[in-house]
């Protein structure tokens, strides 16, 4: 059945509580269960332990990604992202890395494209600092995908102040606003 029932009521904030599995009904994607679109769009939260002594290198990559995006602002456009957040935190004596992304596409659908982009932008080199990351990831896409899925922690609650609105819709709205502003300027 169509899933158009998620009414386009962007003005009505919404929250969605999710079961432990991260989905209500098992829907198989190509690489495993797919996760539902929530009021906060699609997304993932990958948490993994880093290899000892690599914290400095990982933090340095933050600057590198900043430079990559500054030089190629649309490098990550195919992922239809809203936001990415990278966090390092401690659990006891060990250091963990959290990579949280909010985007408009089901990650399962565009997994290979994402990995291709990870490689192109250097994100993959951060993954190399994570415990258990497959050493043959460059030629073994299924192993890369398996690692990502095994370290994905599904949300149990997601909230959207303007639910189900895509980044493309936001950009279109802001473009229209600019256009109207320009028209009004011309009318002065």
């Amino acid at each position: 059945m169509s899933n158009v029932s998620k009414a386009n009521d962007w003005a009505r904030p919404a929250a969605m509580a999710l079961p432990k599995e991260g989905y209500f009904a098992l829907e198989q994607g190509r690489y495993g269960p797919t996760y539902p679109r929530t009021p906060a769009c699609h997304g993932f939260t990958i948490i993994a332990k880093i290899k000892p002594g690599t914290e400095g290198e990982i933090r340095a990559y933050g600057k590198r990604i900043e430079d990559t995006i500054a030089a190629s602002p649309h490098a990550l456009a195919p992922l239809q992202l809203h936001y990415l957040r990278w966090v390092l935190f401690d659990i006891g004596p060990e250091k963990y890395f959290m990579y949280q992304g909010i985007f408009d596409t089901d990650f399962d659908k565009y997994t290979e494209d994402a990995i291709q982009l990870f490689k192109a932008t250097g994100v993959d080199t951060v993954f190399e600092k994570l415990e258990g990351f497959p050493s043959d990831w460059k030629t073994n896409a299924p192993a890369f995908i398996k690692f990502v899925r095994e370290h994905q922690c599904p949300s149990f609650l997601e909230y959207g102040e303007y639910p189900y609105v895509s980044a493309a819709e936001i950009k279109k709205a802001l473009t229209l606003k600019d256009a109207f502003s320009s028209i009004l300027d011309q009318m002065q």
Binding site: S2, V4, Q28, G29, R30, P78, K109, T139, P142, E169
Partner: protein
């Protein structure tokens, strides 16, 4: 360098064929299966025949196996476990991913295709029906020697008249866009893109990333092999014509609706280049009929709707990593044509086609799961591919138009999946390895030149 003496011809060229038969086999006894295979290998077409420039034979034989079929021929469990998971599971088990639900569910498939007893397919393309019948008789006599080789089902295919160009039962011209392969020295037609690395279609060669990837083992089995996704798709011609009549008040308006669903006029002329009126001359000109993009020439879909079939199956410059998603299509039509103006007669007719690729999950399954069935493809919201998407009457089709778009709601199902399977299409040496019972000690030193002579 492509090993054209070893690669089966199937994905390298289309035979000039007007008839075909697909035979679906079960190997009840491994020794009979191996013996049957041993005797048929020399009839299997090789890539070299395609490139030699000489006249092609009047019949072309192709043999491919399911994962269960490889096991039935004696391939050991260690080797079987090295094949990709999607191939091991088979198409029927991947039904939910492919959208094969409801009327398309494997429980409703015909010909034993959803059964684990399906072990192999023999594909025969023949220049005409008479030649096909001759070959079928010949094969039946040959196969009768091997009672352990059971024919689960067969499907006869015939080109749909008129024969001036290939088209399906809906009337759409087929074979308009096909990737070329590096090393075949075929100049791509304008708009096709540069030839792709062989590893996108044949195992053991570098792909577009320069990788050869983890290959199924042993190497002699996987080298020069490909994967095939088979789909038997019934076309509901009566329902399709009813739909056109309901959505177009004149024949011209109906033709335009048909063109908008496909992205090309039924003649094959692309809407990007002929947006308002059909152009059969353009359709027949390979130097022009594929020479367009979307990002620059039709970004909003005023010519080709964002959800039209050809825009989904090949988004061209509006998708990333396109060279890692390309596929090679083969196949034809089955069932009698439904005369224009005749009511639907309830007889099954459709297309029975193969998608050839090096990775079923990255190429075929992506196209079916995402491009065909993702309702939010290109930000559409509630649409699926009008022809190969899964439909239950609840999806729409938007046709961009100034000042406001036309929206067709409740698109009916124009097709039903009647069967499907994943096959591995081995090279010739691999066929000999399988015919020998896939022994661990199999000599891998047979040279191609020796093998080409049938040694």
């Amino acid at each position: 360098m492509l090993e054209l003496d070893d690669i089966q011809h199937f994905l390298l060229a289309r035979p000039r064929a007007l008839a075909a038969r697909y035979g679906f086999l079960c190997f009840r006894r491994p020794d009979d299966g191996c013996a049957w295979l041993a005797g048929i290998i020399d009839r299997v077409g090789r890539g070299r025949a395609v490139t030699s420039g000489g006249p092609l034979d009047s019949r072309w034989v192709t043999v491919a196996f399911t994962w269960n079929g490889l096991r039935a021929l004696g391939v050991d469990e260690t080797s079987l476990s090295t094949f990709p998971e999607e191939f091991r599971q088979g198409m029927a088990a991947r039904a939910a991913i492919l959208g094969d639900t409801g009327a398309n569910h494997p429980d409703r498939w015909v010909g034993g295709l959803a059964s684990s007893d399906l072990h192999a397919i023999v594909i025969l393309f023949a220049r005409d029906v008479a030649e096909r019948e001759r070959c079928v008789q010949e094969h039946q006599q040959y196969a009768a020697q091997f009672p352990g080789v059971e024919v689960l089902s067969t499907l006869d295919l015939e080109a749909t008249p008129p024969f001036d160009y290939a088209h399906d039962h809906f009337g759409y011209r087929d074979r308009m866009s096909q990737p070329e392969i590096e090393g075949m020295d075929i100049e791509p037609t304008p708009g096709t893109g540069a030839p792709l690395k062989p590893g996108e279609f044949f195992l053991g060669y570098p792909d577009e990333n320069g990788d050869t990837g983890p290959l199924p083992q042993p190497g002699i089995l996987s080298q020069n092999g490909s994967f095939l996704a088979y789909r038997r798709l019934e076309e509901h011609v009566g329902a399709f014509r009813d739909f056109l009549r309901a959505n177009g008040t004149t024949p011209e308006a109906q033709e335009l609706v048909a063109a908008k669903l496909m992205g090309r006029w039924r003649s094959g002329a692309p809407l990007v280049l002929a947006p308002t009126k059909d152009d059969p001359q353009l359709a027949a000109d390979p130097q022009r009929n594929n020479n367009f993009d979307y990002g620059q020439m039709d970004p909003h879909g005023y010519a080709v709707p964002l959800g039209a079939h050809i825009r989904r199956m090949n988004p061209r410059d509006t998708a990333v990593n396109m060279n890692r998603r390309r596929i090679i299509r083969r196949g034809g039509t089955y069932g009698p044509p439904l005369p224009e103006g005749a009511p639907d007669d309830g007889v099954e007719r459709g297309i029975a086609a193969f998608v050839g690729c090096a990775s079923l999950i990255r190429q075929f399954e992506f196209a079916q799961n995402v491009w065909a069935n993702d309702p939010r493809f290109h930000e559409l919201g509630n649409e699926r591919d009008p022809f190969i998407g899964t439909h239950d009457g609840s999806y729409d089709m938007s046709i961009p138009k100034r000042p406001i778009k036309k929206k067709i709601t409740g698109l009916p199902a124009f097709t039903t999946v009647k069967g499907g399977a994943y096959f591995f299409l081995p090279g010739i040496r691999a066929l000999r390895f399988l015919a020998a019972g896939a022994p661990a000690t199999y000599a891998t030193t047979v040279s191609l030149s020796q093998d080409a002579l049938g040694a």
